[in-house]
Symmetry: D3
Subunit: 322 residues, 6 copies
């Protein structure tokens, strides 16, 4: 059976889906209705439940799994699910939550190993110890959280997956540009978004915490580094420089960084972060687009719609022995 | 004798002055010359020492006190001092450094008492304890440093004077707008620029430290609050809110704040800071301007020149029993 | 009985309310319905009258008082009133218009006295005479109009109340910063928004007049000052300076001021105006917000939502004998 | 003899010239020198008078006519006049001020007639009377002043010449776009910059007056219209609309207009003004440029340098009977 | 019978209209409905067809002509057509497509002659040959296409009509400003938007082609000129200059021009284009507005609404013998 | 002997250097002097030749090789060469031009091979043929030109070196992000800046051509692709897409791109270009900076100065078998 994001207009629906969020409204006939966001591992879709009873309102809550029958329609150029029947699952239904939550394409264990190997390769002992201590402190959340509430890597373990992609990218760049200090890049990459485990409420149904709203993950993480350094009795330029990498990784004041990048590796960290996030956004949009069509407009990419050409390279990439 | 900032074009000079900074250049006749910034308590003036010998370069260093004879001229609409003779002082000269360094118009002792009284009046024990601990920790520098390297309150104890003015303003506002939380305002005002004691190099000949350049006083102070709270074993919303007041007091990302003000008192703190700094800049420029003239252009006020009217109120302000 | 703005979702409604505005639309069932904005002194709420008859359309007009029964619901995070019955009042109903129109928290008589006292204290006779003449000329409207159509002080006598708050603020500032010329500030404050009595259509159901749209209250008032000075045969710098204070009080060209502030008192007038307007907006939003929650997004404050902390100062402000 | 603006590097100079402005500075040899801006009808050039005596400073003042010998050199890509000898003229010298002041290419009498004819053709009596009264009130200055201190039409009678060009342009446009109201355009064009006779100090050696700096010609003229209408006892929409045309003719707040154009004719007035001013700037720069070269950078045209092609149309324009 | 754009609220409708576009949606009662944009030569109006059958969806397609009965209503301040009955026409109905498509107010033949005459008058043979060849190459589309998808001249032959208006304007300007090179202006005007015949899909139901989206009409036309010059074996500065006129005619990078205008005629081309487009937009909006009212907000004119005064010039324009 | 860019203040100079550019000015003593920019392979330095004779002016021209004796001084924080003696070389001097011109760190032959290998690996025959044809057409200049007049890769063969770095980077990225179409990236990278061989005047003493100024390398290259495709009789989406990659590679209108990137590979091309150019700028500045210092301000990186830390990773990068 096709996942919910792959279904096209007119497709019949007979799926297990998880309720991501619900909003109650009153229709023009004065009866309440529910706007339900439903998801499976492939993505999400909106549905309206008209003439909702008060029982409906008590049953169909966020994170509930439901069996839905209906059909895909479109409204204002967006797909919608037209519900014919919807019911919460019972013990008899062969489905569990983890079947329906989108998750990173790498296993947590593999990501942990990759990150630990990179920490091991940090030669500067101060950077290595601070990085290791903070990964250990936030270990559980760090490997579960999404990288963002929306836009990019917004799935289970998305944060760790984003970090692993960036680490690989940093290593490749350091081979081409050997003047780059990989110690700084590895530490900076691993820690740059770790403040999100405090900024965000949790791995699913994610929202912003009070600390997230009032301080933001950038200031939070700068504090964490200072505190960890103090606890480990580490001082010296490395601590200030590492804090600077975190503070400057959004590049500009209007994007949330109180300082612009003032080290080569801070500038590179920003570009790597940007590159991986943008590719992730474009890839997901292009996956759901047919050759010859444009994607929907991507909010975080200046509202651009991207074109998927009709032609395509057969085997990509080529071997690396050019 | 008139202070150096009060002298007009054509005035003869026979003053003790302190060298604030020196730059060496080579003139079109291929001989080196020194550009010397000289100051007394009233302000500063630039002078050129042409055909400088290498002995001159070794003697005329920053923070040296000199006796200068010469005359005031103007160059590109700015006053200059034309040096006829210049020599470093000897023990025989009846002048000492503190005679020549501009300083706040209130005594340090009085400012300390005012600030301590305000801390005493903070009712919330968490806010009071954090504020008191940080004032104690940085006490010496806090009462010596300028509020900025240039633009406003850039004199000895300028930081404390700026804080005291703001505290008085906050108190007056709270009487008119009783919904304001004076605890938050008092704590926020006292701590908002305290990070400058780490951002800047010292009370005189002030420049930016590495931490200042890479982190900035806003992030530095947010860290200090977090650390102090931890040491005092204080937690709760007050800590996050107080950090937010510091982080947001420049109001916008492009002005260095990673978060905009999201509490009423954070917005008010920003407005009070702005008000006191702008009045300080305008007042100093207008003091050196004759009625009927415009001041020089003020860089930090969008390059505006301000007009000083010919008419003036005799007795200002009026008594407060309206 | 709770005012309309204090009612929460689910509360039953049985209130006298005044219709502020009505819009007619056609529903998806092809029948007309009315969107009615209803108000009492505490604020306003939207209601839909479905299947409106043409009689309904003739009866339910702006400024009509009605008796409504129904219930509070929410639609897209905003409260709505769901109408069960609605009827215009008869002579038998014990309610009159002034019971339902939100109005300033000070009596008109008190505001008049305060403003007259301030005019009396203006020492400069030119400024005093122009100010007094203009208050007299527009007296009636000046004490009835709101300060704006929306955003801040948008209630009966809001304009005068805003002026009185600003006068008090100016007096407090002048005590702390005695270099300020209170004559200029008092005149500028009293006149700065007086052009609104020509820009706006009236004290209730307020809209923009043709002069308001094509000239704006800033240019209108600059004209009025010039005309008044001519009638009183006053000339001299005071007239130009006072016009400048009005022209520049929005501070920037993109905010409607053809000149930026070029006098200290012009800059201070802008800051006082800004301060009082922003506090008014934040206070009203925070009054309707529970501790621990954020307000709705405030349009005129860069769409920020403000946080109301859980902790609060008990007695505020403190006495002024610090 | 070639005019001063037509001379090229290396050309010998033996000209009568008028001093436009003088600035005194001190050279690196500690001797004063004068920077003198010299002009004739073709334009202006800068010269340095080294080792200036105090007698020189008293003789070579703005608006003095001098006889200069020397040569054209260049400094930082700008032509300069290298002075060999300079002396003020005596009665024996056959030159007078008007020979050296750049002036509009049309006679004042002809411009007056053209403007009066246009006023005569205004059909709306209210617009006609206000326009006529204001031209009469400011007649002398209106036909003498430049249109601006720099950038465009900055020569004697430049303001009137700019107005006449715009009137001709408006007439041509109204033939192509007959829906345009020529009454409004004629009134608006004649009055749009008339406030400059108050904003600027005079026809030569022009600077800004206090009213110019604090109010600006746009607000000044809006006042003048209101006052004139009152004196003539004219009211009605025409007065407000005419004021709006003046207030909006700079089009945007950041360019000095408190209202954007909200009438078709207001928008057209802005475009005509813009068109004539820009053509004037480009023409003057291209006149001093050889085919195949770029002009100097034009400040008021976004610092663009314009290219003068090698090819050129022989006879331009063509006859109008297409 | 009044055209559809002239009908007011409440007017009965019994018109032949052409379907311009159709969108299918699902209503709150779960039944599909069609949003149909209907047009005749006077303009367009939106209508809803509720409870649409699948037969309806197959019959009511874009470019179908229908007979509609109903009435004009308003929804959110916009007129709507409330359908009582709608049917596709049969052979018996006395109406054909060209009766219902809005078209330029000049005959194609006349526009062709005007453009050819202008080409004939281009004296520079290189510019003339390139222009003639490109008009010939794209002749059919050039005289059929609209000038834009929306905002201005968006009707049959709108592109050619816009070009003819601009040619007349250029000729009038060249008489007033004889330094303008009419050859360049004529060539530039005729070619400036010709790339739209490739950028857009066709004369009706117009959308963007892939080339339009990825390259844009500006780059397309620059290519076409280069290619034509090569085919005609023309080189020299004229080719580069003509390409520059096309590339720069949107004036700024953020408006789509890779180069700003760097020739006088390039700047003038931009201003003429702007003038004609803006007048077209304002005229159409004002035609549908009553004296004393404001137009709807015009998107492409910074969302301004324009005022139509109550007074009006009787005979406009005046004869040209001033 | 140290290269000219490695010399520090006070170092004696006895070097062969090439004159990069010369400007003549007149000093305050009224004698001409030359400002000479001198270079060797390590970089460039400014020198003044005071009291220049007319013979000097004829001898010391751009691209002349000279023997200079003197000493390094500083002026306004920039190093200068103080000339004691300077003479053009004779046949006896053991130096030739190529010894003194900065050049790419890879041999032209190696870069050619790398680029040809990448062209060979383009699987799409249309993209491959267009790319190959254009490299062949512009071969000589393509391997000689700098990548820019200033800021990055501004040395002999800088353009080809920049392309080779980007090709390697693209290959590394394609291994990590296999969804990228390497055909498009390879073609886009090789052609993206090739228009500079027409935009710029030549490999040394580089300035902008008329085509460069009026069209720019982006539009020039889009034309070249269209023309080449036509000559090779290639059509299809590939041509449009390849032109789009060139047109959009500066990303934004205000940076010179008439279209923003609308294909994933267009966005990636922009990011790769940006990455390589920025690293080149930072690396060159950091090479001339001591640990613990900041670089000079880099114009093309928002005027930031970059910090070079005191600590450094010993061996970088690590092996790639993580």
């Amino acid at each position: 059976m096709k996942g919910i994001a792959q279904c096209a207009e007119g497709d019949p629906i007979n799926h297990y889906l998880m309720i991501k969020s619900v909003t109650r409204s009153v229709a023009s006939n004065n009866k309440p209705f529910l706007t339900i966001m439903l998801q499976d591992v492939t993505g999400e879709i909106e549905a309206k439940l008209w003439d909702a009873t008060s029982e409906d309102e008590q049953v169909f809550l966020a994170e509930t799994i439901v069996k839905v029958e209906g059909e895909i329609t479109t409204f204002r150029n967006k797909k919608q699910l037209k519900i014919r029947s919807i019911r919460p699952i019972t013990d008899a239904d062969p489905v569990k939550k983890s079947d329906l939550i989108p998750t990173a394409p790498l296993a947590v264990q593999d990501m942990m190993e990759h990150i630990n190997q990179c920490i091991f390769e940090i030669q500067n002992p101060k950077l290595q110890r601070i990085t290791r201590a903070l990964v250990k402190k936030h270990q559980e959340a760090f490997f579960e959280y999404p990288a963002a509430v929306r836009n990019h890597h917004e799935y289970l373990s998305g944060l760790a997956f984003h970090v692993v992609s960036m680490l690989k990218l940093a290593q490749a760049l350091a081979e081409l540009y050997p003047e780059l200090d990989l110690d700084l890049l590895y530490s900076g990459i691993i820690l740059h978004d770790m403040g999100k485990v405090i900024e965000l409420s949790g791995p699913t149904a994610t929202s912003y915490t009070l600390e997230g709203k009032l301080l933001g993950h950038i200031s939070i993480m700068s504090n964490e580094i200072a505190e960890t350094a103090r606890e480990l009795e580490i001082d010296g330029e490395e601590v200030v420089v590492l804090q600077h990498l975190i503070l400057s990784h959004h590049s500009k004041g209007e994007w949330g960084s109180p300082k612009p990048p003032l080290l080569r590796e801070a500038e590179v960290l920003h570009m790597i972060d940007n590159f991986d996030a943008k590719l992730n956004m474009m890839n997901r949009a292009l996956e759901n687009t047919k050759p010859g069509d444009f994607t929907e407009k991507l909010f975080a990419m200046d509202q651009r719609a991207f074109y998927k050409p009709l032609f395509e390279r057969k085997v990509s990439p080529i071997s690396s022995d050019v």
